[in-house]
Symmetry: C2
Subunit: 428 residues, 2 copies
Amino acid sequence: LLLPVWTSAINEDIDVLVILPKNNSYLFSISRVTPAIEYARRKMRSDVGLYSGFNFNVHYDNSDCGNEALFNLVDRSCKKKPDLILGPVCEYAAAQVVRMASHWNIPVISAGALATGFSNKEKEYSHLTRVAPSYLKMAETFSAMFHHFGWKTALFIFDDDKEERNCYFTLEGVHNILHSEDYKIDIFEIHPKDYRVDIEEIIKYTYESEVIIMCAGANVIRDIMLAAHRRMFTSGTNVFFNIELFNSSSYGNGSWKRGDKYDAEAKQAYAALNTVTLLRSVKEEFENFSVEVKKATQKAGVYGYEDGDNVNVFVEGFHDALLLYALALGEVMKNGSNKKDGAQITHRMWNRSFEGIAGQVSIDANGDRSGDFSVMAMTDHEAGTFEVVMNYFGINGSIQVLPGFSRERFTLKDRHRNPFPEHPNKSC
Amino acid sequence: LLLPVWTSAINEDIDVLVILPKNNSYLFSISRVTPAIEYARRKMRSDVGLYSGFNFNVHYDNSDCGNEALFNLVDRSCKKKPDLILGPVCEYAAAQVVRMASHWNIPVISAGALATGFSNKEKEYSHLTRVAPSYLKMAETFSAMFHHFGWKTALFIFDDDKEERNCYFTLEGVHNILHSEDYKIDIFEIHPKDYRVDIEEIIKYTYESEVIIMCAGANVIRDIMLAAHRRMFTSGTNVFFNIELFNSSSYGNGSWKRGDKYDAEAKQAYAALNTVTLLRSVKEEFENFSVEVKKATQKAGVYGYEDGDNVNVFVEGFHDALLLYALALGEVMKNGSNKKDGAQITHRMWNRSFEGIAGQVSIDANGDRSGDFSVMAMTDHEAGTFEVVMNYFGINGSIQVLPGFSRERFTLKDRHRNPFPEHPNKSC
């Protein structure tokens, strides 16, 4: 639909530098993302008359999810600067690379760099386009629910590893939106190294907040839910959310289950838990893509995909990144400019929609992808399994309720009176 | 004493890149620091037989106290890398430059980069030597006083501009030390943009803490002191500190004075205020240096020195930085290596003392300068003037009391019972 048609033949070499971790423990490691980029290149080459004239020369450098990303970019670029950078995903690596690239007028497209700071494109992040929905986009889901269900107060519980800080950045997005809308927010930070977590302290806070929003490891979540259940917080006085963006398909198949003596109790507790996750689409081409990418990844000796899992949003995003870039570059060239015009290429990628590998992709006027999110809840209390009960669509801010939805689970029962004195809510 | 003696003639070109702000509103702007570096070069050239063979080719680049610092370093270094980097001072500029330089094996010496994060030299800041005492060194002054006077609890009040964050980093150092020593610390953060500051809220916290440690603009300090005075906190139930590191010589000449109707009250309030500042020495050569540097700075059209002011610690520090480097390089060359051996040169600068322009400079085994600090207090209640009453010497951790000292002012009177309930002290 949106693909431009060439009137004359094009032959253009484009140097692409992909900066991602070598370490396969990351969902977005070089080995995991390479097949998706190769898929996109093959597709474009075979698209006679459209992008077949673009020759993408792709180089891969290790970001090491840290300073290495910038070092590799700089050391390589002294000889020759790339035309396009894909990645990094990790926030601290991305910040450095995007700054340098913006200074050099090189477009950067990432399926990561999800932290709120990157939304400010006025200066140092001017050349960044994000093809996966940022934490701020995810946060809109909460804003919509708070508005819809009339909640007023929230407690954030998050696990800050002080290194990659995924949960910190995740809840920072939610904080920014809910705070700007004047909801009362308390914050409880867990340092996983200090674990054993002080559950009593958490519970004290829980008395004062209606909605509990958590981002933490599965065991911490389970401990909190068990403690909350024992205090009867799971019977309607509070609404519980866990944010779990990147493993959605493996969620709900027994996260409460450990094979220990608390399983039965945990299953009951988890009946009150809602999980916010990415809404993943399932169009036919995506299935093919997913199968092919998984095959290639496993051939490269990388494991981690279970049967039935689709590839993750990072892998999908970097595929779409190359398409989006080709779209924009095509237009820029048609307008008489070229691949060195990083600012124009970047702005051509913004404020547009295109057909990505998993469905429609909308990039907003600020160069950030709009996001769709799902809320999962336990629908079979016997089996303890979860289903999507609600979807949020970022492009128009709508909430969609599905058959498993029950208004009751999101409606607060008469709240107990607060037995604890007020404490000051300091900003952190 | 420590200067090596050359047995053979040396002729060595050394490329020095100085990365500091062009903007003269910074105490460490290029125009302010240049005369000090020129002074050091002249001195070494004339030191027959010692450093006269070192030809320092000094280039100056604008750090803009931000990202520009790295951009300039990288863009310049693609052609040829410098042998030595002096600066940056601003934390965010320094972090980026020091990382890159450490990666490239280039020594960096700064009279800034004072934040606690830079103390970790194991990885990304491996090549950084700090020739001015860091915030952590300043914090030792508080640790020594807490120990000496038997205080137990502190309230930190600081002004965080969220840009350069000087006060944030200043108190971060104090927090790290006092927290590790198990003192109870409350934190109150002021956002100057939100000013009018909520004095009532601050006062509430003051009830709970013995020692109030502030870092903020002069007007905020005055408002807090006035409010504290009106609540009788200034009569011995609390000890008040203000940290004012870089304008020490202009302090005490009437900071309570505004020419408004509160001056008399403010003078009384300030009788309870103690100011922690750098201990500046006054040896004869420093006076000459200071006069010469000031003359050159004013000739360059930069103002800001009042009569009697000596040059600041940044200007002094960058002078000494060049001496220290020459010392280390001399030894490295004597050992058969050369100016490209950044790691060895760096380590030769650590764990040593040398005669700087203002007196003895001690660099500890971690490459950070030991610091001496003064505590100033009002000694003439009539005139409302301040004097140094106590010194702290970092090299041996000793406290020296001066004639104006009175133990009473640092001794807590029977503290009122806390009329407010306990509140949780969250880490920020």
